[in-house]
């Protein structure tokens, strides 16, 4: 599984990254995590509000900081 956190480096983006890390640790799944800060790459995902979360190339959330449980639920889908 590959998870990407999209964000240009604002405070909210960092909180989402931390939440995702915690969720990964809890899930016990092997995950490749990437933080995408390049605005052009973020645009390619058609996202206009950051932070956004991408799982296996699919945008699953944008514009908000999720909770650990929410991220875990999204990972299971």
């Amino acid at each position: 599984m590959k998870i990407e956190v999209l964000g240009t480096g604002c405070a909210k983006c960092k909180s989402l990254e931390a939440v995702v890390k915690e969720a990964i640790a809890k899930s016990g799944i092997f995950v490749q995590l990437e933080k995408v800060e390049d605005i052009m790459k973020i645009m390619e995902y058609q996202v206009v509000s950051t932070p956004a979360l991408v799982i296996d190339g699919k945008v699953v959330s944008s514009g908000k900081v999720l909770s650990v449980d929410e991220v875990l639920a999204l990972m299971k889908k």
Binding site: K12, V48, G63
Partner: protein, 314 residues
């Protein structure tokens, strides 16, 4: 009812009188009233908001004619959340969808100005009439400002080259159950409240001191009808205060009660929310300084005009 309870507590039970009693009464009454309204209004707005997101707005604004696009963008600005950290993806994302920059600016002006915190505070402090005036004229500034910027043809001042996407974007509505929407709204309300409740406390506290101790003539002399530069100064002072809107607004209410004119107060509050220095600094990464200056200039001019207009009429 709340008013009577506080009066009873302060004047009858604790037997506080004079300036001190008045200040404490004001402090307790206002703090709890505003906290209550903040929670209710933020919850309501964030519940509504679970139906739209910025991606949906973008798809919906696509291919709309100039003026209609400006109006629609300004209206969407009320309901969608805005964080200055999202300004860059938002701006570029709108260009990507071939939305004219004038329409994007209408959204960029309206969204922070009509944010739920400002609206809740205004409603709690000034009542629905002033809130309606604020929203109405805020929309007007956003629509006219965006339209004028669109007419100036400043596309060349966008420093990043964005390829427009092929075809039409689809406006996808978010599908959630009522329970999920309520949970999301609850979480959002809790997070925001945690961020601002202290600002409200401090703002109302300072307001209470002014309310109890500083005579009205003093404020009226500096911020009232006699000072014809009051609106201009208020707008300039409002620019660096964006993140403190929750603390600043209770002060404005007290100043207004003590003789500052309503137009001056309106201008100040609009400047606090619409003209944000951090947002300008973020946008500078992708926009030429000329475009940012035009944006600030037009919005500033609009806000100042509204201030003087109101001071003149009322």
């Amino acid at each position: 009812m709340w008013k009577q309870s506080v009066d009873y507590l302060i004047y009858d039970l604790l037997k506080l009188e004079g300036h001190l009693g008045e200040a404490i009464n004001f402090f307790i009454y206002d703090t709890f009233k505003i906290w209550f309204l903040l929670i209710t209004i933020i919850f309501a707005v964030s519940y509504l908001r679970t139906h739209f997101n910025t991606e949906y707005v973008r798809a919906h604004l696509q291919g709309k004619s100039q003026l209609y696009g400006n109006v629609l963008a300004a209206l969407f600005g009320i309901i969608t959340p805005f964080c200055s950290c999202s300004a860059i993806p938002l701006f570029l994302g709108f260009i990507q969808a071939r939305i004219p920059i004038g329409v994007t600016f209408s959204f960029l002006i309206s969204s922070p100005m009509n944010n739920e915190i400002a609206i809740a505070l205004l409603f709690g402090l000034f009542g629905w009439k002033v809130t309606a005036i604020y929203i109405g004229f805020g929309l007007l500034v956003a629509i006219v400002g965006g339209f004028v910027i669109g007419r100036l043809h400043m596309e060349k001042y966008v420093l990043m080259d964005v390829k427009p996407i092929e075809g039409e974007l689809e406006a996808v509505k978010i599908k959630l159950t009522m329970q999920e929407r309520a949970t999301e709204a609850y979480n959002y309300t809790r997070d925001i409240f945690k961020e601002i409740y202290l600002y409200v406390l401090v703002g109302v506290g300072i307001g209470a001191l002014i309310h109890g101790y500083i005579p009205a003539d003093f404020i009226a002399e500096y911020a009232g009808a006699e000072n014809s530069f009051a609106v201009l100064i208020a707008v300039l002072m409002g620019i660096p205060m964006y993140s403190n809107a929750a603390g600043v607004m209770p002060l404005v209410e007290v100043l207004t009660a003590k003789g500052m004119l309503l137009g001056t107060a309106l201008s100040f509050m609009m400047a606090v929310t619409a003209l944000s220095l951090p947002e300008a600094l973020i946008l500078k990464k992708i926009l030429h300084i000329k475009l940012i200056a035009t944006f600030f200039g037009i919005v500033g001019l609009g806000i100042i005009t509204i201030g003087y207009l109101f001071n003149f009429i009322l």
